[in-house]
C-alpha cells in the first residue's frame, strides 16, 4: 500500500525571482506524526500550502511526484482538489484569531464543511460539530455553536479550527505552527490535544513547527528543512541521537537540555543568516554558514543514507 502522502522533488516559485521550495521530498505514513522543522522562511508553510494547492496568487508548484493515498494530486483540477480539501485532507493554520470568518457563527462554519462533502442533514452536522467541540475540550458546545468568533479566545478558536478540520474524518491533518500565536500554557494544551487526537483517530499528522521541544514530545518522524530543501529526515529518536547534517547538528545545539548543559556553558548558535536563493542556484544552500564546507559543496550535494529510514543531503560521510 502506498504511503498517505508522498512528496518528491517539490519546487515552488513566486513569479520567477525567488524559489521558496527547491526539490523538497517527504513522506507521511498513515497514522504517523511527521514533524517538519526549520527556521522562519525555510519553506515549511509553503510546502504545506503547495500540497493543499492553497498557494497565494502568483505561486507555482511543480513536483516529480505529489500523491495522496496513491492519487496523483498534480493531475487533479481545482474541483477535484476541492473535493479532497476539508474532506480527506484538512489543514489548520498559525493564526487562529483571523482564520475564522467574523460574520458567521461557529456552528454555521463547522457544519458547512460537512454539508459540502458528506450528504448529511443540518441536524446530523450540528450533532457532529457539538460532539467534536466536546472532544477538543470545549465546554458547553451547544452555547459555542451559536457564538461568533470574536466571542472566543485565541485558544478556543484554535480548538474550533481543529474540530472543524476533523468534521469529515480526514486521513491527513496538516497543522501549520498551530500553537505559535498562543500563550505558552495554551500551547501545551493544544499540542497534547493534537497528539491525543492523532492517536485516537489514527490520523496522519503533518505538524509544522520550529520548536524542537514539540518535536521531541510528539513526532514519530522528523524532516528538517533548510532554504527550501529537506536536508535530513529520520525517526525522531534517531535524529536526536545521531544528527548527520551540519544544520541539524547546529539546530540541536541551540536547544538547552536540562541536566546535560552546564550553567556557564554558552548555548550554541548558527552563524550567518538564511541566504536568498533564486532560480539556478547550485550546490548546498547551507555552505556559507557551514564549518565543514569545502569547494565541492558549491556544485554537488549527494543524497546519502545513514541508516534505513535516515536520509540526509550532505557530502559528509555517513
Amino acid at each position: 500500500m502506498s504511503a498517505l502522502l508522498e512528496v518528491e522533488k517539490l519546487e515552488v516559485g513566486f513569479g520567477g525571482s525567488t524559489s521558496a521550495v527547491r526539490g523538497a521530498s517527504l513522506t507521511v505514513e498513515r497514522g504517523e506524526t511527521h514533524c517538519l522543522v526549520g527556521e522562519s522562511g525555510c519553506g515549511k508553510s509553503v510546502t504545506a500550502l503547495a500540497v493543499m494547492n492553497l498557494l497565494a496568487r502568483g505561486g507555482h508548484r511543480t513536483a516529480q511526484r505529489l500523491s495522496f493515498q496513491g492519487e496523483d494530486l498534480l493531475k487533479l483540477d481545482d474541483r477535484g482538489m476541492a473535493r479532497l480539501r476539508g474532506n480527506a485532507m484538512a489543514m489548520i493554520f498559525q493564526e487562529p484569531m483571523t482564520s475564522l470568518n467574523p460574520a458567521y457563527t461557529i456552528g454555521s462554519q463547522m457544519t458547512e464543511v460537512m454539508r459540502r462533502h458528506k450528504k448529511v442533514s443540518q441536524r446530523v452536522a450540528i450533532d457532529r460539530a457539538a460532539d467534536l467541540l466536546g472532544r477538543v475540550g470545549i465546554t458547553a458546545p451547544g452555547l459555542r455553536l451559536g457564538q461568533f468568533p470574536h466571542q472566543l479566545s485565541g485558544g478556543l478558536r484554535q480548538r474550533v479550527m481543529i474540530a472543524m478540520a476533523l468534521m469529515c474524518e480526514p486521513q491527513l491533518l496538516i497543522a501549520d505552527e498551530p500553537t505559535t500565536a498562543l500563550d505558552v500554557t495554551v500551547q501545551a494544551q493544544i499540542l497534547r490535544l493534537l497528539a491525543q487526537l492523532q492517536r485516537d483517530l489514527g490520523l496522519g499528522l503533518l505538524l509544522i513547527t520550529h520548536d524542537l521541544g514539540i518535536v521531541a514530545r510528539v513526532a514519530h518522524r522528523v524532516s528538517v528543512m533548510y532554504a527550501g530543501e529537506v536536508v535530513e529526515s529520520a525517526a525522531t529518536a534517531q535524529l536526536f541521537a545521531d544528527p548527520r547534517h551540519p544544520y541539524t547538528q547546529g539546530l540541536l545545539r541551540c536547544v538547552p537540555v536540562p541536566g546535560k548543559q552546564r550553567q556557564d556553558e554558552p548555548l550554541g548558535s548558527i552563524p550567518g543568516t538564511v541566504p536568498r536563493i533564486g532560480p539556478g542556484f547550485e550546490g548546498c544552500g547551507f555552505r556559507d554558514r557551514c564549518t565543514f564546507a569545502d569547494a565541492t559543496c558549491a556544485h554537488t550535494v549527494p543524497h546519502q543514507t545513514a541508516a534505513p529510514g535516515h536520509d540526509y543531503l550532505c557530502r559528509l560521510a555517513p
Binding site: 492553497l54 474532506n87 483571523t98 467574523p102 460574520a103 458547512e112 464543511v113
Partner: protein, 304 residues
C-alpha cells in the same frame, strides 16, 4: 446597543436643529423677502402690507422661534404661492422623489456590486482597469449632461422611452439611470476594494482549505464581509440621491420634491424652501442612522 442608538439619536437631533437654523438664516440672507414677494411693480405701501401680512415685521428671533415651534409639531406653514399647506405640498411630491431615489439606488447596486466583484476577482487585468475607467468617467460626468444625452439617444432618436413626466414606470428609467450614475463609481470601488481585502484574508484561506465551492467562497464568505461598508454607504447615498435629484427632476420634468424646491426658490416661496431643506435633512439624518443599524446587523462584532 441601546446606548449606542441613544447617542446616535441625540446627534441626529442636534444635526436637525442645526439644519433648521441654517435653512432659516439662508432664506433671510437672500434679500428682503417682502420686496421679492410683492413683485417688481409693487409700491412701498404694498411691500409694507406684505411685510405685515406674513409677519416679516416681527423681530427675526421671534420669527425663527415661531417657525421652529410650529415645525416641531409638524406644521410647516403655508405656501405663499400655492396657497396650501406646505406639508400637503411635500407629501404630494414625495412619492415621485422616493420612487426616483429608490430606482436610482437599486440600479446603482445592481450595477456596482457585480462589477466590483468581477473587478476584484480579475484584479489588475484589462477588465479591472476598464471597470475603474468607467467608474472614473461616471464620476466626472455631470448628471444634467448625461440626462440630456440619454434623452437625445433613447427619447428622441430611438423613441424607446418618454423624456418627461411621471405617467408610467418607463418615465423613471432614464432619470433612474442618471441618478444611479452618481453612486455607481463609489459603490463599485468600495465593493472592489472590500472584495480584494476579503479575498486575501485568512478566513478565505480557511474557506478554500475546507474545499468550498468558488461561488460559496466568493459570495458567502468574501462578499458578506465586503458588503458591510457598501451597504452602509448605500444608505447614505440614498440620502444624497433624494437631495440631489433636484437637477434631474428639473431635466426630466418630474414633479417631485426637488422640482418643488426649484420652483419655490424661483418664486421666493420661502416657507416651502425652508421646509424642503428641513425634510430632506431629516431624511438624510434618518438614513445615516439606518446605515449604522445595518452595519450592526451585518457585523456581529458591533452587536455586542
Amino acid at each position: 446597543m441601546l446606548r449606542f442608538l441613544f447617542r446616535r439619536l441625540i446627534v441626529a437631533l442636534l444635526v436637525a436643529a442645526t439644519v433648521m437654523t441654517l435653512a432659516f438664516v439662508l432664506t433671510r440672507l437672500s434679500g428682503d423677502l417682502a420686496i421679492s414677494i410683492a413683485g417688481p411693480n409693487a409700491t412701498a405701501a404694498d411691500i409694507e402690507a406684505v411685510r405685515k401680512a406674513y409677519g416679516l415685521d416681527r423681530p427675526v428671533l421671534t420669527q425663527f422661534f415661531d417657525w421652529v415651534g410650529r415645525a416641531v409639531t409638524g406644521d410647516l406653514g403655508n405656501s405663499y404661492f400655492f396657497q396650501t399647506r406646505v406639508s400637503t405640498l411635500i407629501a404630494e411630491r414625495m412619492p415621485v422623489t422616493l420612487t426616483l431615489g429608490l430606482t436610482g439606488l437599486s440600479l446603482a447596486l445592481l450595477i456596482s456590486i457585480p462589477m466590483g466583484i468581477l473587478a476584484a476577482v480579475r484584479e489588475n487585468t484589462n477588465f479591472d482597469r476598464a471597470v475603474q475607467m468607467v467608474a472614473l468617467i461616471g464620476q466626472a460626468m455631470p448628471s444634467f449632461w448625461l440626462g440630456l444625452l440619454l434623452m437625445i439617444i433613447f427619447g428622441l432618436t430611438l423613441g424607446w422611452l418618454p423624456i418627461s413626466g411621471t405617467g408610467s414606470w418607463e418615465h423613471f428609467v432614464m432619470p433612474g439611470i442618471v441618478l444611479s450614475f452618481s453612486a455607481v463609481p463609489a459603490l463599485t470601488r468600495l465593493t472592489r476594494a472590500g472584495m480584494i481585502q476579503a479575498m486575501s484574508s485568512d478566513y478565505i484561506r480557511t474557506a478554500r482549505a475546507k474545499g468550498l465551492s468558488r461561488a460559496s467562497i466568493l459570495l458567502k464568505h468574501a462578499l458578506r464581509n465586503a458588503a458591510i461598508p457598501v451597504v452602509a454607504i448605500a444608505a447614505v447615498q440614498l440620502g444624497f440621491m433624494l437631495g440631489g435629484s433636484i437637477v434631474i427632476e428639473q431635466v426630466f420634468a418630474l414633479h417631485g420634491v426637488g422640482f418643488l424646491a426649484w420652483e419655490s426658490i424661483a418664486k421666493n416661496d420661502f416657507p416651502v424652501v425652508q421646509a424642503v431643506v428641513l425634510v430632506l435633512a431629516v431624511i438624510y439624518v434618518a438614513l445615516t442612522m439606518v446605515s449604522d443599524l445595518l452595519n450592526a446587523v451585518l457585523d456581529p462584532r458591533l452587536r455586542a
